[in-house]
């Protein structure tokens, strides 16, 4: 519901600025080429359908290119691109959830998991064949709250430090530690469920 603002008129004020600087996207493109696989891995673990990962990264690169000229701190393009990948992955999940809600409103909540086969109460992820290994862990990972999942993925897939994770997610280092701790505990709990 929180992701359906189009259904209500929200008195949202925005600050708007005018201005532009010269585009300089060579560094970003080089990073896109060399870090592509790492970014695809990151996206693969953040979205619910692993086959979406490459699309997410390409969309992220396009978005990053589009706004790169307005980024003032260009010293850390990798962190910037990583943050855009996280945002695009988040958008992808949100849109799918909204679409799902509109098309399957009469189905029980447990059937609304995108990784479950339509109409099936089984817990088999529909993308299971695309996961190389631990499908239980993949399933558990996607049952975590968004922030916890992002913290866990950035830490384990991207080897991000607490500070780097905080920077990518725009939250405090304390929050990162909390989310990571809770996320790992929740994963443990989910995996122990019969």
């Amino acid at each position: 519901m929180a992701d359906e603002p189009e259904t209500t008129e929200v008195p949202t004020s925005h600050l708007v600025v005018e201005g532009a600087s010269d585009p300089d996207d060579a560094a970003l493109e080089a990073l896109f080429r060399t870090g592509y696989r790492d970014l695809v891995l990151l996206a693969r673990l953040l979205v619910d359908l692993p086959e979406d990962a490459e699309e997410v990264v390409q969309e992220a690169f396009a978005r990053a290119l589009a706004s790169w000229s307005r980024v003032r701190d260009k010293q850390h393009p990798a962190a910037y691109l990583r943050a855009v990948v996280v945002n695009v992955s988040r958008d992808r999940l949100r849109r799918r959830r909204v679409a799902r809600r509109h098309t399957t409103t009469s189905r029980p909540a447990e059937d609304l998991d995108p990784r479950r086969s339509p109409g099936s109460a089984s817990s088999q992820p529909s993308g299971e064949g695309l996961r190389a290994g631990d499908s239980d862990l993949a399933d558990a990972l996607h049952r975590l709250p968004r922030r916890q999942r992002e913290c866990v993925v950035l830490r384990f897939a991207d080897d991000c430090s607490t500070a780097e994770t905080a920077s990518v997610l725009g939250i405090s280092e304390g929050s990162v530690k909390t989310h990571l701790h809770r996320g790992l505990a929740a994963l443990q709990r989910l995996l122990e469920e019969p």
């Binding site: 929180a2 708007v16 929740a186």
Partner: protein
Amino acid sequence: MISIDDRLTAFVASERATVATEVGAGPTGDEVHAAHGRAHQIQRASRRRRAAVLAAAVAAVMAVGTAALWQAQHRDDPSSVTAAIPTPAQLDNPTGPQTGPAAPLSAFAHEGRTGDDIPGVMRGVTDPIVVRTGFSDRQLVVSFVGGRPRASDGDTDPCATDYVGTARLAGDRFVVGLSGVQAPSRPKSTVFCTAEGYLRTAVINLPEPLAGRAVVTTDDQPVEVVDASTFLIPRTPPTGWTPRSESLGLSQTGDGGFSWVQTYLSIDATATNASDASSIGVQEIETAGNTVDVADGLRVLAATAPGQTLDGRVVDNTQGLMSPVGRTTVRGRQALLFDYAGPQLHTLAVIWQEGTRVHAITLGRADTSGVTMDGLVAMAQSMTTATGG
């Protein structure tokens, strides 16, 4: 037994190997070319969007003025303001869960319904706009569009409703809902209420700390909770000014942006009409890196998309532009100062940026508020998160 860390590490290694097999060395030239093309599309769309917003922009003065109008008209009835932001004492000492029947958060439009045909809840609540954590881990704050607030406990208007949040723990998730509260002696006759919607806020006290657990509505719809732990709140608002309402909206472009707005009013204000009213708006806008860059040499204005409403009232679409009149330092960042004397409203504003978030403190009716730019800057400089960050 294998630890979760080891299991995650093995899983990631396995996924990494799969990625290496599937995508090879990296993107092809065509894929890079396509991304550049898409980037140009995004830039063009962004320019069109910006032009549209600029064309319909409402200056901050108008937004603040409208808020002032609304608040001035409800000044004598504190209960008519959207639910007040809890005081620090309330936050530190939550009263526990409310009891009583809970209505689904997602309910029904109430136009044309009578008050008698819906047991339990007399007035519909449209889907909540957004739910954020409170500054305590035992609270959720729900923004939603509901009916007109009751002016007082004695308000017999059957179309006025207050809302009480409910919460219970069911397994490993919280089930939350809202109950409408209306005049106990409302008329028994058939009453049709207009579809007038008001932006409302309700605080839901949780029986236990949220602790990252899932939240669903009473009709089992998942609720996305925005983490408010990094939101900035002023520690020292001007003497005699207190928080009166707040709202939180998500970006309609789905880019992860949001806008959180607190409104402060002077508790000793004696204004009886809108032209005398003052209010301070504290805005925190997560831009998701796409739309805002507060920097020297840029013209900054506050805008509201045409047709959007503020507390049920359509915002005037006349606009005013503001250019910075000075600079100072707020929380280690350069802040731009604005002083705009419009035809109807004299506005002061302090605006700065932290990462992808833009913060703005805006004072309407500066001439009569008793608050100076120094006071506004001091308020900005006192901003911290609930944990002191």
